[in-house]
Symmetry: C2
Subunit: 696 residues, 2 copies
């Protein structure tokens, strides 16, 4: 990777004198690159004042990196020339490859083959290459105007799958005043991909935060593992989260966007901050860079001169799941000394009356000190109106020093007049204080910082409590031809792995069924298990609430008719329960074996609350998975119900992953519902799918 | 109201020569007001070059409007002087009234009394008064810098409860380039409130859109009625939506922020667009002004030169609940003529390959024409990168003309270089095209436009199908002392109003209970109805699944012991059902009698999906209420279940409102759960609360 970013010499295949992309690359290189630049084009002797060569072979010196802009069809020839020349790093910026259908895919495969055979690492094709802002390296055909648009050097590095968007991101970051280190436009990823770059940037001393725009993550598992081990915050904007977006992503940059809920669950559990818009991604990355440490409890005090702003700040912080700090008695006492007597101190801290009474600086600084000393406060959000009062700007350095001494974070919600805001931002930047214009965005960003810090704190403390799989589960003979185990066999498999299942029995006669019913207690459920039919309820094969003998006999007969001699009949204890969960195992094309956990029931189908983690799991990771549901309150003793036995639930999830590891033929396991009664989970229905279902 | 905005003469009590608020008012008036200005202060002869008067009595001419800035305690004296002078409009901008506790509340009440006795309309206190940007009227102590900060005349009027925020809003709107008509800072609302202003602005020829920031809506019912009848879009940012925010709002501007879910439900149902942040409110108001008409179906085509932006646009639009249009076969055919052969036309329409092939203008304009002619497209979102290609700017007028001819909306998602964006925005503004920087915000704003248009379309077509209440329901004798009807009596009341209830009976002996059970079928539920205990389940007084005689007798005896001679025992058919709803009636302090409807069950308690409307309801409004749930898909035939009988559900909601109208003593009715089986709703448990519960 290093050579891509730090070549001593760069050749440009497809360079040009005309005002086009091939010319842009040379201009961009000349503007900052301090190594040798070799334009290649048989039609010119010089380009932008540099001697031009008819081919790479004609270049006298060694070429570390070739940037290729020739038409797609000519690229293989250029690659072969690079191989001859000993150039081992090539950025193909030309389009016309896998994104254009079968012919393009074949062309890309050919390039890939030439590269592999000759030990060349390929970047692209169909990309905008590399920009290194602090060093002013522009290995890209991006319009030179972007270069001069006010790009600020910074410590955020970008990895962007979409070509055009990498240029747009740079322009917008410049406009927002957010500094950038490296911007990597990776295009079709024939070879170099986001995983290679993530590993490189983790070690890059000029990068503090990595922000990515991706539409798919083909090596999802590797990506998740890198993210989990990363010491730097990673912010990911994933395109194709909606159905319409995913469909569009399928036809763009030839990438399948995959199961976005799975990617979000796995990556979020690996500490990645998931953004859902361009500017949110930028602001989150910026804030993560500005606030390297924060107590993940993130209890916030709000200070303001406007009661209205205090209320809106609380609304925004609460919407982002953050906690409004409860001030200690001591802090309140200190605030009472500043506040007018009719005003009881509370959070948000509205300083307007205090300021009228005691003067601005005293009221503000005394209150801030009190709040920073409060052990129940982790961060202070200050709403400030710029342009009407400059007093605050002068105190920013002092304010930052106090915050640092207390080990706490101060962050500004800045409104006001344009010029005053600009000035304030400049002062805040030099003092190292984060500033946001939008209170909602500020809350989202603080929440991202808390998420990352919570992950890192857990990851650092996490024991490797991987329990060896159940010693010797009787290996189930998986049937040779069936694609699916029926409900009974599925639960026998779970049972062997000590996952609690409902009491049930196959009955060949109604008498056998009734004997079982009397033994486990009424009412019972009778189900017809038709081969390869997973959706029993929709086929009318589930009969609930059978509580007397005649009804059972009659139902049994009816199911027998419905099954028409195929399949078998299952009698099952009808359990009552507090709520329904779902759990499962699946092999994902991008993320490999994963365990799934979520809420069950009909409302959860409408508003899914489900999450995923890579399998196999450790006990600790499984507990974390259980705790990561949006509606986790349901599991914590909601409405007088017993709290979920987390250890039991975690064990079950670990075991689901272990079953998958033990049986390579198992593609998917669904437990739905996994009901919970008195805190204990029990599998009521389950379904095991064997072998990859092809053609879908 | 008119005189507040168009006085011929204004007096300023508390005017000053010193650089303070009293001086700001005079400066602000001088800068634009074309009537007579009379500064009042016994200490000066002139202020800002105007003759100064010792009191209002000393002013020679008539005074239409007085602006008062003297200390709170001196305000009653000034009001009395206004009364003597015949000044009937007074804006009290001084603070120190009800927001400062009991003494301030008493002072405000005194001012109010003086005003009422003398037929004076009071604006404020504790506010920043009035700004009229197009006419440059500044009846406010706002810092003069705001006046010169680049305020743009426009057609959005603001009503802002928080003083400071009204100044901040103006500054931020100027910075964003959004024009303003009138800004009304209303403070403590001793007299003039948001309802007065809403009624005034509805008729104001200079206002197209009203945007409000409110922390409470004391005359909520009146506000909702005005909103429902308004022909102009109304955007409301309500502070205090979160618990922390609501608590803060309680101590700010002395207002109770009320039940935010009820306010949101009622107002959203009255066509109000609910915003949840300052900038979202501004952008929504701006977009509603720029797009007066839009087919509420709002099927959107996305055009872009960046595949990535197209995907992100779809994600954002889908998140806001909007529909990505399916292009017609004809449109696709037209696009095929522009697209390269390997690229099948689809929405989002990625024009990058077409542009490389056919040139920018042709590719773009041909595609746009095709899309505008598609009957399945209502709006076109164009992602455009400014600063790298100016071609588009020149075509904006033409583009707008084509859009107008087709009766459709074109809206830009604009990214790119700062200077290019500025220029593009200017051109777009003069062409009358809406432009957004943030795709997510663009989607939220389009969704707001669709919401308003859907409401107006419904309101214009709505029949007044108010059905007369059930002719002669047997009037239940409501008990004299009890605060609550027990479950059985509650359902008798519902039954009289023809609301379907579960079959049940009071049983004094186990034998009676068993006879009922045998009659309705097993299993049954037995409940102990203890007087004034609503939460039976939590008191262990509900026994489900009683399916045999011994169990019934045993349970009956146990409940009798638990009740200890008080209350009675209810036997109930145990009904199976597809899903649970809730419905109810309540009298709200701000909105009066309201009907409530929502999803039931435990998950709905965690993620409430409940909405409200003013009672009594028409049939049409009740159907609308049923359709307004977030998870409405559940009611529309989800997962093979029968769709909800909307007419039956609507009738039930109408009747709930009618019960409330018939019985003034009924404070609240809760039906929870209202279960649905085969599409038909049945009340399983119900609870009627009588008389106001005081002291809470």
């Amino acid at each position: 990777m290093e050579t891509f970013f730090n070549p001593r010499s760069v050749a440009v295949a497809g360079a040009s004198q005309k005002e086009n992309l091939g010319n842009h690359v040379v201009k961009n290189l000349k503007a900052g690159f301090d190594g040798d630049i070799y334009p290649i084009n048989p039609n010119y002797d010089e380009i932008e004042g540099l001697p031009c060569f008819p081919s790479i072979d004609a270049i006298p010196g060694h070429v570390d990196l070739a940037i290729v802009l020739v038409p797609a069809k000519a690229v293989p020839t250029v690659l072969e020339a690079c191989a001859r020349k000993g150039t081992r790093r090539v950025i193909i910026e030309s389009a016309g490859f896998s994104e254009t259908g079968d012919a393009g895919r074949a062309l890309q495969a050919r390039c890939d083959e030439i590269a592999r055979k000759n030990d060349i690492r390929l970047w692209g094709p169909n990309c905008m290459g590399i920009v290194d802002v602090p060093r002013q390296y522009f290995f890209t055909f991006m319009h030179p105007r972007i270069r001069t648009s006010g790009l600020l050097p910074g410590r955020i590095s970008l990895i962007v799958q979409s070509g055009m968007m990498s240029a747009v991101f740079l322009a917008e970051l410049a406009r927002k005043g957010i500094g950038v280190s490296k911007a990597c436009s990776i295009g079709n990823r024939a070879d170099v991909d986001e995983c290679d770059l993530l590993a490189f940037l983790e070690k890059d001393p000029d990068t503090d935060v990595v922000a990515l725009y991706l539409e798919s993550i083909p090596r999802g598992r590797r990506f998740a593992e890198l993210a989990a081990a990363s010491t730097k915050p990673i912010v990911l904007l994933k395109g194709g989260q909606s159905e319409a977006g995913a469909q569009a992503a399928m036809s763009h940059t030839s990438s399948l966007s995959g199961n976005s809920r799975l990617a979000t669950g796995v990556l979020s559990g690996a500490g990645v901050v998931m953004a859902d818009s361009v500017f949110q991604m930028m602001d989150m990355a910026h804030t993560l860079g500005a606030i390297p440490r924060l107590n993940p409890a993130c209890r916030i005090a709000v200070m303001t001169l406007s009661g209205g702003a205090g209320i809106l700040a609380c609304d925004a912080l609460a919407r982002s799941g953050l906690t409004i700090a409860t001030l200690s008695a001591e802090t309140k006492k200190k605030l009472e000394a500043v506040f007018p007597p009719w005003m009881p101190p509370a959070n948000p801290i509205d300083l307007f009356p205090a300021v009228s009474l005691r003067g601005r600086t005293a009221a503000f600084m005394d209150s801030l000190s009190a709040v920073l000393e409060d052990p129940g406060v982790d961060a202070v959000v200050i709403h400030f109106v710029a342009g009407l009062d400059e007093a605050m700007s002068e105190h920013l350095d002092n304010l930052k020093k106090r915050a640092d001494q207390s080990g706490k974070t101060v962050i500004f919600w800045l409104m006001g007049l344009a010029e005053g805001k600009r000035q304030f931002r400049e002062n805040a930047r030099s003092a190292g204080i984060a500033v946001h214009s939008d209170g909602t965005r500020l809350a989202e960003c603080l929440s991202a910082v808390a998420h990352f810090n919570a992950y890192r704190q857990r990851a650092e403390a996490e024991p490797d409590d991987r329990v060896p799989p159940i010693p010797e589960p009787r290996r189930l003979d998986l049937p040779g031809t069936t694609k699916m185990l029926d409900e009974f066999d599925s639960k026998r498999l779970l049972d062997e792995w000590r996952i609690p299942v409902v009491e049930e029995q196959i009955a060949s006669t109604p008498e056998e069924a009734w004997a079982f019913a009397e033994q486990v207690g009424l009412p019972v459920v009778i189900k017809g298990l038709a081969p390869d039919k997973a959706h029993k309820t929709e086929h009318g094969l589930v009969k609930l609430g059978i509580s007397d003998r005649p009804r059972l006999f009659e139902t049994f007969a009816r199911l027998q008719t419905q099954l028409g001699g195929k399949g078998r009949i299952l009698v099952q204890q009808q359990v009552s329960y507090d709520y329904e969960l779902i759990a499962g195992f699946l092999r994902d094309a991008q993320f490999g074996p994963c365990v799934m956990f979520g809420l069950g029931g009909i409302l959860a189908e409408l508003q899914p609350d489900v999450t995923f983690a890579l399998a196999p799991l450790t006990e600790t990771k499984a507990v974390q998975l259980v705790r990561s549901l949006r509606n986790r309150r349901l599991l914590q003793g909601f409405r007088g119900m017993a709290p979920l036995d987390e250890a039991a639930a975690a064990r079950l999830l670990v075991q689901l992953g272990d079953i998958g590891a033990a049986h390579a033929r198992i593609e998917q396991i669904d437990i739905n519902p996994l009901v919970v009664k008195n805190g204990l989970p029990v599998a009521v229905d389950a379904n095991v799918v064997l072998d990859k279902i092809t053609g879908a």
